[in-house]
């Protein structure tokens, strides 16, 4: 799975570079986020702007990764295009992974939750 990382105002942003997060890549996707978690990050922004397609297996991997972040773990999503957001909405997982338009908005939301 092709991921890249940037720090933005002290928050780790994971950019998913692969256009598809599906049953063929879900395992790798989970492992890549697990690797970030293992380095002590508990609050992540996952940037899905390069993702053209995600299925329930990919979404399940994101849930699984969230569990690895521990008690204080949180993941918010930025950059989801309409077709990607549909999956989160239909499954109600948009209640778990809040969707934001920008990193600024996402960072504010994570800070809010941290209080």
């Amino acid at each position: 799975m092709n991921l890249s990382e940037t720090m933005n105002d002290g928050v780790m942003v994971v950019h998913v570079k692969s256009p598809r997060v599906d049953a063929a890549s879900a395992h790798e996707f989970r492992a890549a986020i697990a690797d970030v978690a293992a380095r002590g990050h508990t609050r992540l922004i996952v940037d899905l702007s390069a993702v053209q397609f995600i299925d329930s297996t990919g979404l399940g991997a994101l849930v699984s990764a969230l569990k690895l972040l521990g008690r204080d773990g949180r993941i918010v999503v930025v950059g989801a295009r309409e077709s990607v957001a549909t999956l989160f909405r239909v499954t109600r997982m948009d209640k778990v992974f809040r969707m934001h338009l920008s990193n600024t908005e996402a960072i504010a939301a994570l800070a809010e939750g941290a209080r």
């Binding site: 397609f53 991997a61 699984s64 077709s83 499954t91 109600r92």
Partner: protein, 153 residues
């Protein structure tokens, strides 16, 4: 409009391997758009077909990798009718009908589901869904009539 006639059909076939589902899904989305579906509707057809095909690979063929999954795409006016066919273990009676929204507490992470969403997604996104087994052939049929605007959802 070219390509939207009632007899326009395309059959797609893959081996039961997850690596083949990406190209299949992309092909189904593009062909659905070509048959007149709007872009978001075509994306929802892709997602539904991928969920159904993943189920055939995982549940019908139990990840054995030596099965065949076929997708038949047929033009409606307007919309598409899709069959996902496998010759593996059939889905038990009533499973499709019972598939409902996942019940979970979004604030309680350890209890969040990591699966069990596929059939519900398909039912939410498609206008009609049914499943039939005859002999060794299992067929999940889905109908998507058009864009959200034209639908009663």
């Amino acid at each position: 409009m070219n390509g939207r006639g009632a007899n326009v059909r395309l059959l797609l076939r893959i081996g039961s391997e997850f690596a083949c589902v990406g190209p299949l899904g992309a092909a189904v989305r593009a062909a659905s758009a070509q048959l007149g579906l709007e872009s978001e509707a075509a994306a929802e057809v892709e997602l539904s077909v991928v969920e159904a095909v993943n189920n055939s690979i995982e549940h019908a063929y139990r990840l054995s990798g030596d099965g065949v999954v076929e997708v038949l795409l047929e033009a409606l006016a307007p919309g598409v009718r899709i069959e996902v066919r496998d010759r593996g273990h059939a889905m038990s009676c009533g499973v499709l009908e019972r598939a409902g929204p996942l019940e979970f507490d979004a604030a309680h992470v350890p209890s969040l589901p990591e699966g069990g969403m596929g059939l519900f997604i398909v039912k939410q996104l498609m206008d009609e869904v049914h499943y039939e087994t005859s002999g060794s052939l299992n067929v999940l049929t889905m109908v998507r009539l058009g864009s959200r605007a034209g639908r009663s959802r």
